[in-house]
């Protein structure tokens, strides 16, 4: 005779297996969605570029200076050059190759995307799960905090936090990350609320599984779908926000080739030298576009109500 423990475990295993074939379903549906696939392609290209940046844009060796990273190498006799064979995107005000800088910037953007989403996702998910699972009071308190964060305009919140923490890549990521916590928190909370009442949760409770275990092993896995979509679109927003902050002048120290900072530097030459602003801007637009398309495709693929 099966005892209840095993029953719950079996049910979980079934769920997991169902999930595995569910994921395959999702992949199948995504494959059929042209927008999602283009987005996936772009994101993969971004990841590959970031990983192989040093090979695509290798460092230079210079007398007296040693090994100089490609995005720092200044050719002062060739400043503000236009695209050519040697410099496919031209050079900036210091004679630095813009193509090299854009390529290495992909690493920064990826970092920003992951860290920001990581921070906001972890904090937001914890907050949302706890709020959805526990009593009214805890829920109220946590959601009021979320409301307060939401009431403050996003950019201003990020700028305030960045000003309070000081400049620098990491602080910018924290500042932007905090602003996105409410979105994850709300999303997770409503998912948790709907899953909470289901039978298998009651069963788990009946056999004495602890709250934390229930929240994170049983409830949460069922809410992953919207979280994933949000995470993807969140990465896109994070890159945009970080670029916006750099553009205003807060935070990424030179010579880090962050795309928003490159836009800000190139702004002065906008009338005479379009490559300084066009290429970084295109890079941002392309990557964000890809992430948004992927997120959109995932949303459609994960939507249980869509016909096969």
């Amino acid at each position: 005779m099966m005892n209840i423990n095993t029953a719950v475990e079996n049910r979980n295993q079934e769920n997991t297996q169902k999930k595995r074939s569910q994921w395959f379903e999702v992949w199948r549906r995504l494959r059929k969605n042209p927008i999602g696939m283009v987005g996936l392609f772009i994101v993969l290209a971004l990841i590959l570029t970031a990983i192989f940046a040093d090979i695509i844009s290798p460092a230079h060796y210079v007398e007296y200076l040693g090994r100089v990273p490609a995005y720092e190498y200044q050719d002062l006799r060739n400043r503000n050059a236009f695209p050519s064979a040697e410099h496919p995107f031209g050079t900036d005000n210091f004679g630095r190759d813009i193509f090299d800088r854009v390529v290495h910037g992909s690493r920064i953007s990826l970092q920003i995307g992951f860290v920001v989403v990581g921070i906001s996702m972890i904090v937001g998910v914890i907050m949302g799960t706890v709020a959805g699972y526990y009593s009214k009071i805890t829920d109220s308190i946590i959601m009021r905090i979320v409301d307060i964060l939401l009431a403050i305009p996003n950019i201003l919140l990020a700028i305030s936090i960045a000003a309070a923490l000081g400049a620098g890549l990491i602080n910018v990521m924290i500042a932007v990350g905090i602003g996105y916590v409410p979105f994850f928190a709300r999303q997770v909370r409503s998912s948790v609320l709907s899953v909470r009442e289901q039978e298998f949760i009651e069963a788990a409770r009946a056999i004495g599984a602890g709250d934390v275990r229930i929240m994170f092993r049983h409830i949460l896995p069922n809410c992953m779908a919207p979280i994933i979509v949000r995470a993807t679109m969140g990465m896109a927003l994070a890159i945009l926000s970080a670029a916006a902050l750099s553009f205003i002048g807060l935070g990424i120290e030179p010579p880090i080739p962050e795309w928003g900072a490159m836009l800000s530097e190139g702004r002065r030459f906008i009338r005479d030298h379009w490559p300084s602003t066009v290429f970084p801007g295109l890079a941002i637009a392309l990557v964000v576009f890809g992430l948004n398309m992927l997120g959109d495709g995932l949303r459609d693929a994960l939507d249980p109500r869509l016909k096969q």
């Binding site: 200076l65 005000n93 000081g166 002048g249 120290e253 030179p254 702004r267 002065r268 009338r271």
Partner: protein, 533 residues
Amino acid sequence: MKKVVVVLLVAAVLGSMFLFTGCGNDQDVTPPASGTTDGGTDAGTANDDAHLIVVQPMMPNSFDPSLTNDVPSARAHALIYQTLVYQDHNRNIIPGLATSWEFLDAQTVVFTLREGVRFHNGNILTADDVAFSLNRAGESSHIAAITGFISEAVVLSDHEVKLITEEPFAPLLNHLAHSAASIVNREEVERIGDEAHGQHPIGTGPFRFHSFTAGDRYELVRFDDFNSVVPGMAEGALPVIEHITFRVVPEAAIRTIELETGAAHILIDAAASEVARIVEHNDLIMYEIPNFAVNTWLGFNTQRAPFDDIRVRQAIAYAIDIPTIVDVAWAGLGSVAQGPLPTTVRGAVTFPPIEQNIARARELMAEAGLEDGFSTDIWVNEGNAMRADAAVMIQAQLRALNIETQINIYEWGVLLPATAAGEHGMSLMGWTTVTGDPDYGLYPVYHSSNWGEGGNRNFYRNPRVDELLIIGRTSPDDAVRMEAYREAQELIMADLPLIPLWQASELYATRDNVGGFIGLPTGIINLWMVYFE
């Protein structure tokens, strides 16, 4: 019926937001004060031939001279108010509201005032106004660096004021020529209060405040009853221009566009990257006026190793290629700095340039035991693209000495206190000798009593230099002063607490139909001389 109620509710909720918008956002118009001649000429009806439009990057903070010390405000003050004395092109002191003055002793001077000068509100200038203004300026924290020397101003008669200083202060007249020492109308300030006066100023200057729109622009109109004297204008003359609009346009490229399209006539603070374009443009004239600033130097925190070692400082001076840095970062504008003081200031000594010599630099580093280099940082203020550019080049060039430099670009709010506290290794900062007198250019920066906030962010201390700077500051004998400053500058350049990099120019541009344009090294423009050709 329910529908209507709901709609009204929604409208009410939304409409409550509009309550905060007040009655439109314009026109903080100066109200006519008691006994005025002319309260509110409608600036809009001035004819276009006499309407000048100026674009600049920032809005003045306040129109009251005791409440702020920023340059855009000073520009406005110079048009609205007058000072006791002025400085001419050759840095000589000429009469302003004071027709003559006499030093009773090293700490006391009596000014005789011009008679019958009218304020914008119709009041007549008396010694009471002058004493009030000077005392007020002396007490203000905001302009303490300029007017802090004032101990007390006393009324002697209707047209005589006695000024007493705590200690003998040689550059006294230069400081009184600064717009921070502008003369205000006591009755007006006491009537409406300091803060309100900052938005409704009353002065004796050739232009009268008309209105401002927060963050966007402010308007001045000609004071038709002007009967005082300003530099360059004959007695009894009035400006040709009747109406000036100062518009704020933060983006440099867009400022130029406004000038090109004729939407503006004068542009203030052209960015270095715009200069070439302006020079080439047929309808525009570029003015490059060397100003009172050694705008940027590479400063060392001499209290922090290894910058306490003169050899390291010298090595760095030899390692960097100053002419190239200046050429690239500042687009060939201004000039390579030739000493601690800009050449426009009296008594400035020029020193031969430090030629780049990497071999020698490495020798020095080896002598100091640092041939393996070290890590440090260089602090730059955010918003100054040219200094940022210079920092990037310096960073690259210092690699030759194995010095790894991290560039910290911080906004002023962080940079000022941090450098005052000595958190930096190196910094790119500068100094403007606003008074044109060497005391202001050297004392705050090099005297050891000013470590930190006072202006000596290099934490430099040389007892002999301290002595010399005090002599310069207090001696009534001009020749003694200049000699003291000469020796001080030589010692400073030998000690190298900082490496002067760039002497700045004020960059103005005008349309070619603007005549009579005179910009001063201080960044102030005598717009009363301007006319349309």
